[in-house]
Amino acid sequence: MLTRVLPRFGTRRSTHIFERNFMVYRSQWLMLVSGFFEPFFYLLSIGIGLNSLVGNFHVGGQVITYATFVAPAMLATSAMNGAVIDSIFNPFFRLKISHAYEAVLATPLDVNDVALGEVWWALARAGIYAASFIVCMALLGDANSVWVVLCWPAAVLTSFTFSALGLAACTYMRSWQDFDIVALVQLPLFLFSGTFFPISSYPGWLGAIVSISPLYQSTSLLRGLALGQFAWIMTFRMAYLLVLAFVGLTLAARRFRRILVP
């Protein structure tokens, strides 16, 4: 299916955008390293601090520590945050400040290649971060089943969705000031997507709103996978994320076209 859908979104040339980003980031390796430490600090602080306060948790018949409950949500959140940085801030700079994309479009690459290339890049970084996060989970004892490895593709899917949506969002940014709006969306998503407690604690209407949140869908998916609690609804969650990703990518390519080659 992918091979039939993807050419509409870009060609093999999109990999050159990946190469370009790699070349730029090689000289900014510190940023990559910080990506490894971020999850480590998150997990460590929760494990040490909150575990003792909150005590054990009952989820689907399993008794788990609070850190085991929160860790998959943190993974989902970090996938979202990483994707947003990679697909909103950096492309905005190249789209509207340095005009680097205009130069690229004078080469055989097309607008779709540019958009898709940025998503490849965001995915690759997401893949590395997610892997290191999962390793941290295992090392700190926050993973209690081998199924936790399935969190990796799910986290990458999450990044795919958020980077496609982020890329579309970045085309609407007028100036750096608009990035406050991004933070304004990110924070409630982070706080209300069942990150720190199950959404069953919410009143029904709020629960209904929360279930629209892609981060909630991702958190639930990752949590289920990490605990090895499989359910059919996971298929729905994956489909939901996938559909949003393709909507985002289509919109992003269309907006890029309107801005770059009117």
Partner: protein, 309 residues
């Protein structure tokens, strides 16, 4: 191989919403030619360039580049063009050399070929010593040269230059001209827009003057001067607040008289003769200058003196 023009535009139109930037222009460029697009701001030059760079699609009209149709073969055409955009769009976070090598990758060129080619191009644009510096640290002239080097990385058959020397000091301009001339000798077709008429005279074999989205004149620079101006121009200044009053008195002495706020221009064939005739009838300006007609006179005649922003 066909022997027709390397680029042919017929009735090209570009519309942005309600605004029609290009209103049906037709021209052809021959292989190896240096072709100029002149015109005031807003004349439609850049929109035209973007279409013939196979980047922006014409709203209507037909366009053939290298015998191909940009609507269908955009990537292949762009692979054989070099574009120097009006604003430098270099990668500020990369070094000078990396800018060239990375750009070459967009054309699917292998890395070892690019390493060699980047060195040659840095040599060609006199940037070898700055190869490993960040682009951000370069002067305006160096950035411009790097942009030109970058446009050559795929050894283009047509080089498209949008105001290649705007903002450069005279030394840097001359270096760019000299390099463009060398490329022309190597057979690279060039399409150039510029606001400098001396540049157009220097670089272009043939040019079109655009105004309000249409072509108002076409030909080699010398021919345009011959057709739209006289051989010489006499510039006169008088000790008066209103040069306008002198218009009638001077008109018998010139083919055309143009009154400006600070001076009067007489379009004539022999400027010194005209000055003598004026002296004979008692017309004594405070200053007089005789010069050859230039492309600038033609340009201002065709597109007017009103400021366009």
């Amino acid at each position: 191989m066909t022997t027709g023009p390397i680029l042919e535009a017929r009735d090209l139109v570009k519309r942005f919403g309600d605004l029609t930037a290009v209103k049906g222009v037709s021209f052809a460029v021959e292989k190896g030619e240096s072709f100029g697009l002149l015109g005031p701001n807003g004349a439609g030059k850049t929109s035209t360039l973007r279409m013939i760079s196979a980047v922006s699609e014409p709203t209507s009209g037909s366009l053939t580049i290298l015998g191909l149709d940009p609507r269908r073969d955009g990537p292949e055409i762009r692979g054989r063009l070099g574009v120097v955009p009006q604003e430098d769009t270099l990668e500020l976070e990369l070094t000078v050399r990396q800018n060239l090598e990375m750009f070459g990758r967009y054309f699917d060129l292998p890395r070892n070929v690019l390493r060699e080619r980047a060195s040659e191009l840095l040599e060609f644009t006199q940037l070898s010593e700055r190869a490993n510096d960040k682009v951000d640290d370069l002067s305006g002239g160096m950035k411009r040269r790097l942009t030109i080097a970058r446009a050559l990385v795929n050894q283009p058959e047509i080089l498209i230059l949008d105001e290649p020397t705007t903002g450069l000091d005279p030394q840097a301009r001359h270096l760019v001209w000299e390099r463009l001339y060398r490329l022309k000798r190597e057979g690279v077709t060039q399409i150039i827009t510029t606001h400098y008429m001396d540049e157009a005279e220097q670089l272009c074999d043939r040019l079109v003057v655009m105004d309000h989205g249409t072509i108002v004149a076409e030909g080699p620079p010398s021919e345009l001067i011959a057709r739209h101006s006289t051989r010489e121009v006499v510039e006169l200044r008088f000790d008066t607040d209103s040069h306008e009053e002198l218009h009638e008195r001077l008109s018998p002495f010139a083919q055309r008289v143009e009154v400006l706020p600070d001076r009067i221009l007489l379009y004539v064939n022999e400027g010194d003769d005209t000055l003598r005739e004026l002296h004979a009838v008692g017309v004594v300006p405070t200053s007089a200058l005789v010069r050859r007609s230039s492309l600038e006179d033609v340009f201002l005649r065709l597109t007017g003196r009103t400021l366009v922003d």
